[in-house]
Amino acid sequence: MAATLDLFGAWRDALQKWEKETNAALNSATGDERVTRAMSQSLSVMAQLQAKQAEAMEKGLARVNLPSKADFRALNTRLDGIERQLTRLSDMVKSLAKAEGVTLVAPSIPRPARTRKAPAGSAKPAKDGSK
C-alpha cells in the first residue's frame, strides 16, 4: 500500500525513465546519417569562419602595430627550443649523476625506505566480475 502511494519515489523513477528514453531517442536521431552529415558540415563551416576571423584579426593587429598570435607563436617556438635544450642538459646531468652514484632529489622531499611488503590479509574490494 505504502509503495503505491510513494509519490516522491514514483516521481524519481519517472525522471530516470524520462532520462533513459530521451537519451535513447536523441541518440537515435544524432546517429542518423543525415543528421551526422549536417552536424559535420556545420562544424566545418564554424571552423572555417573562426579561421577567417582570426586572419582578419591578425591583419587588424598588424595595422595598429601590435603583436599578433603568429608573433607570440614564433616567440613560443623559440622558448620551446630553449626548454628542450634545458631538458637535454638536465637528462645529461642525471645520467652523469647516476653513473657517479649521486642522488639529485631535493632534500625537502622525504625518501622513505622502499621496503614495504604486501599485507597478509588485505581488505577485499566489493565483488565484481573478472576474467
Partner: protein, 358 residues
C-alpha cells in the same frame, strides 16, 4: 492493519520529504553563495613541466613505501585532479596512505604552437621523459604505469613499444581497444561526412567546446536530469560536495593538439589500427601482444563513453601471462572517482598492486 501501517509509512515519508525541502532551501543558498570545494589538495611537487606536459610527485604519506613507484597517465581530454578531487575523495591520497610512491602525468591545454604534437611526441618523448624522471627520483628501474581512458591507450602504446622495458605492472581503466565498437562516436566521425582535415587545418588545436559537446551528446538529457537530481539531493552535503567536484572536472575539458586529434580520428577511430596491429609510431608497429608486464584492465559496467564491446578484447590480446580483466559496477567516471570507486576500484587496485610492487 496493513493499511494503517501503510498510512503511517506515507506520513513518515511525507515528513522526511518536508524536512528535506527545508534543508534544500538552506543547501540551495549555500550552493549559490559558496565557492566550489578545493581540488588537488594532496601535497605534491611539479618535477617536470614542458608545454602541455606536467609531471607531479606526491609527498609520500607512510614511513615505508613499496619498492615500485606508480606513474598515473591521465587522459588527454581532462585534468588529472580527478585523481585528487578532495581530501577523503582522493585516489592519490588513498594510494599514498596504502604505501605507494605516486607520480601523475597531467596535461595542460596545448598552446597554438603545440598543434603539431602527435602520437610520436606522447609515446616517444613525453612518457619516456616522465619514466626517466621517476626512475631517477626513486632510484628504481621498474615502474607501474596506470592509464585512464585515453591515458590507458597511451600507456598501452608506450609499453608495447618499450618492451622489454621499465614497465613491471600495467593497469588501465576504461580503455578503448576495438575502436569500431564506439557506437555514436563512429557515426559522428564517419570519414564520408566528417572532415577532420578541414577542422584541424582551420583551427589548429581542437577546442574544448567540441570535445565537451561530443561527450554531452552521448547523453543529451542527462545535463537536465542531473540538475534536477542536484536540487533533489541538495539537503545532502556529501552528495553536493561530490557533485560539485565531479561536475566541475567534467566541464573542464581540454583542447587537443590538432595533429594528435587527426591521428586519433584517422588511425584509431576510422582505421582501428591499434586493434588490427597496423598502427605505426616512429616507424614501428604497435603490437599489444608484445606487452609482457603484469596487466590489469578495469572496465565499468555502465560506461556510456567506452562501451564494453570497445574494450573487451584487450585482455585477450595483451601478451602478458599474468593478466586480469575486472568488470565493475559504475560508469566511466564513477569507476575511478566518488563513492563507488572508494568501495570498488581503489581497494581492488591496492590488492592487485601490493603483491606486485615489492
Amino acid at each position: 492493519m496493513s493499511d494503517a501501517g501503510g498510512d503511517q509509512g506515507v506520513l513518515e515519508r511525507f515528513r522526511v520529504e518536508m524536512e528535506r525541502a527545508q534543508a534544500r532551501q538552506r543547501g540551495g543558498l549555500d550552493f549559490i553563495l559558496s565557492a566550489g570545494p578545493p581540488r588537488g589538495q594532496t601535497p605534491k611537487e611539479v618535477v617536470l613541466s614542458r608545454g602541455t606536459l606536467s609531471l607531479y610527485h606526491y609527498t609520500p604519506m607512510t614511513d615505508e613505501v613499496y619498492r615500485t613507484p606508480i606513474l598515473f597517465v591521465m587522459a588527454t581530454t581532462n585534468r588529472a585532479y580527478v585523481f585528487d578531487l578532495a581530501p577523503g575523495q582522493s585516489f592519490v591520497e588513498f594510494m599514498l596512505k596504502r604505501g605507494y610512491d605516486v607520480y601523475v602525468i597531467d596535461w595542460n591545454p596545448p598552446q597554438s604552437d603545440e598543434a603539431r604534437l602527435g602520437f610520436e611526441d606522447y609515446i616517444l618523448d613525453f612518457i619516456p621523459s616522465c619514466v626517466s624522471e621517476v626512475q631517477t627520483r626513486s632510484g628504481e628501474d621498474d615502474i607501474t604505469v596506470i592509464g585512464y581512458c585515453m591515458g590507458g591507450v597511451l600507456s598501452l602504446m608506450y609499453t608495447a613499444l618499450h618492451t622489454p622495458g621499465p614497465v613491471r605492472n600495467l593497469a588501465v581503466f576504461t580503455t578503448p581497444f576495438n575502436w569500431r565498437e564506439f557506437g555514436l562516436f563512429n557515426a559522428w566521425s564517419d570519414e564520408r561526412h566528417f572532415d577532420v582535415d578541414t577542422l584541424v587545418d582551420s583551427l589548429g588545436n581542437v577546442p574544448p567546446e567540441v570535445i565537451l559537446a561530443s561527450f554531452d551528446m552521448l547523453r543529451p538529457s542527462t545535463k537536465v536530469t542531473s540538475q534536477i537530481q542536484l536540487w533533489d539531493n541538495i539537503w545532502n552535503d556529501e552528495f553536493v560536495k561530490s557533485y560539485r567536484a565531479i561536475d566541475r572536472w567534467g566541464n573542464e575539458t581540454l583542447s587537443l593538439p590538432g595533429r594528435y586529434f587527426r591521428q586519433t580520428i584517422k588511425e584509431l577511430m576510422n582505421g582501428n589500427k591499434l586493434y588490427t596491429g597496423e598502427l605505426e609510431i616512429g616507424g614501428r608497429r604497435v603490437n599489444v601482444g608484445n606487452i609482457k608486464a603484469s596487466f590489469l584492465h578495469a572496465v565499468a559496467e555502465h560506461d556510456h563513453i567506452v562501451p564494453y564491446a570497445c574494450s573487451r578484447d584487450l585482455v585477450e590480446r595483451v601478451g602478458s601471462e599474468d593478466k586480469e580483466e575486472v568488470v565493475m559496477k559504475g560508469g566511466h567516471v564513477s569507476l575511478i572517482a566518488g563513492a563507488n570507486a572508494v568501495r570498488r576500484l581503489w581497494p581492488k587496485l591496492d590488492q592487485w598492486l601490493s603483491e606486485r610492487s615489492t
